[in-house]
């Protein structure tokens, strides 16, 4: 049994026919060819699948695809491209915050969400905001560096990311 889901995804109206139990994550990855959101746990524990749903940071694995019908979804793919990186993406590259990279898209989305709301967070705030994004490679040190770097650049440029 399938259903149709129509949503604004990264600014474009997209639709897909999915099995009813499909999560938003599954729809993005398997039907809309947007595999940037990652499937590390599919139980809301790791944050690798983080996207914005109507502007809220959510784990897309915990959103039933049908719940995204008629809503606005933004994924890591909306932020920047290889030629034109978003400041948070640039900061992750510059700070050495990427290793295997499986957690990276989710963290990029989560850090961007934080800095959109709070451009100059303390370390403690960064830690609390990223508690739901597991990384197994970096020990988080360089992820903190990247968040600080992106925040500092935003402050210096007087611009929000």
């Amino acid at each position: 049994m399938t259903i149709w889901v129509r949503a604004s995804v990264n600014g474009q109206l997209r639709e897909a026919e999915v099995w009813e139990g499909t999560s938003l994550l599954g729809m993005l990855r398997d039907e809309l060819e947007l595999p940037g959101s990652k499937n590390a746990c599919e139980e809301g524990e790791c944050g690798s699948c983080s996207v914005w749903l109507d502007g809220d940071l959510v784990c897309s694995c915990l959103v039933l695809a049908a719940q995204a019908d008629g809503r606005d979804v933004r994924t890591v793919e909306s932020l920047g491209t290889g030629e034109d990186l978003h400041p948070v993406q640039r900061a992750f590259v510059d700070a050495g915050a990427v290793q295997c990279g499986f957690c990276t898209p989710g963290l990029i989305v989560a850090v961007t969400d934080l800095l959109d709301r709070e451009p100059s967070p303390s370390d403690a705030r960064i830690r609390e905001a990223l508690a739901g994004n597991l990384c197994r490679c970096t020990g988080y040190e360089k992820i903190l560096d990247a968040a600080r770097l992106a925040s500092g650049r935003v402050e210096a440029s007087g611009d929000r990311p």
């Binding site: 959510v58 039933l64 905001a129 508690a131």
Partner: protein, 290 residues
């Protein structure tokens, strides 16, 4: 598996009446885990996420939380409700707090649900609605009957929770084996009720449902009375009284051994938390006294 999408509370109740086998979904933080893993295949899913009526809240003589209220909205809108916001902050991650709802926590009815000690300490009632029967309110202790077991009827939906606001400080605390993102090993909520001169202490994850520590509550209130603390919040409790309160709280726990913690640890930790929580609320009273 049918997905029922509704845009209003009336439609939601009608849908639930038609399909009592439908499992409601809002934030999906519980239900989607089982669906993704393949061990849960409900015959139907009723999506409540577009029902705006469930997202309301009120804070007057009563605190009213709609079932669709997320932890994030609690943190943003109800920041004065200390224990409630402390519990909301202890839930998962920003991603989970943005999605998880009051109704989900209540409906799942896990003894580890982070809001449940707050509801139990506040003597909250659960508001239920159905297409046929209208609304009814069920006291928390009558609603939660066992681990993930509640008295909700198949055609009912959780509309929200409500409790009478108490004058007095409150606190929520939760122990987990990691510094964030944990299911509670044990938790508690302590509420001081200045008007009734009572202490209310609810314990989570140490029994088949959330529990109240009646003996500790009675002892705590009496000890404060004896110390003259009700009239004068600056009057402290002595260490022995706090220790006895902690001991009675630990005694009220009925924990089991499981993967997340041993019964011995849970009982011990409840005692420690209860003693600390009592000191904190007494200190808060003293600090906030006019």
């Amino acid at each position: 598996m049918d997905v029922l999408r509704v845009g209003s509370l009336a439609d939601a109740l009608a849908a639930k009446a038609r399909r009592p086998d439908a499992v409601p979904i809002a934030g999906g933080t519980d239900l989607m885990v089982g669906i993704n893993a393949g061990w849960d295949r409900p015959p139907a899913i009723l999506d409540l996420s577009a029902v705006d009526e469930l997202r309301h809240w009120e804070r007057g003589d009563e605190v009213v939380l709609g079932a669709g209220l997320t932890y994030r909205l609690i943190l943003g809108e109800l920041a004065d409700e200390r224990a409630l916001t402390q519990a909301a902050r202890a839930v998962g991650s920003p991603q989970i707090r943005n999605r998880g709802t009051v109704g989900g926590n209540v409906g799942t009815g896990s003894p580890a649900g982070d809001l449940l000690p707050v509801l139990a300490a506040a003597d909250a009632s659960i508001e239920l609605g159905s297409d046929a029967g209208g609304r009814r309110a069920v006291a928390w202790h009558a609603f939660f009957t066992g681990p993930k077991r509640t008295t909700i009827a198949p055609d009912e939906l959780i509309l929200g929770v409500r409790w009478r606001r108490r004058r007095g400080p409150s606190v929520f605390a939760k122990v987990g084996p990691r510094n964030a993102m944990v299911i509670s090993v044990c938790s508690l909520c302590l509420q001081v009720d200045e008007d009734d001169r009572a202490i209310r202490l609810a314990l989570g994850s140490v029994g088949p449902t959330v529990l109240r520590a009646d003996d500790a509550e009675a002892f705590g209130a009496a000890a404060i009375e004896e110390a003259g603390g009700w009239a004068d919040p600056a009057r402290p409790l002595d260490d022995a009284a706090v220790a006895r309160f902690a001991e009675l709280a630990a005694g009220a726990a009925r924990p089991i051994d499981d993967l997340r913690g041993t019964s011995a640890y849970r009982r011990h930790a409840i005692g420690v938390l209860a003693g600390r929580a009592l000191r904190w609320v007494l200190a808060d009273r003293a600090a906030e006294a006019p």
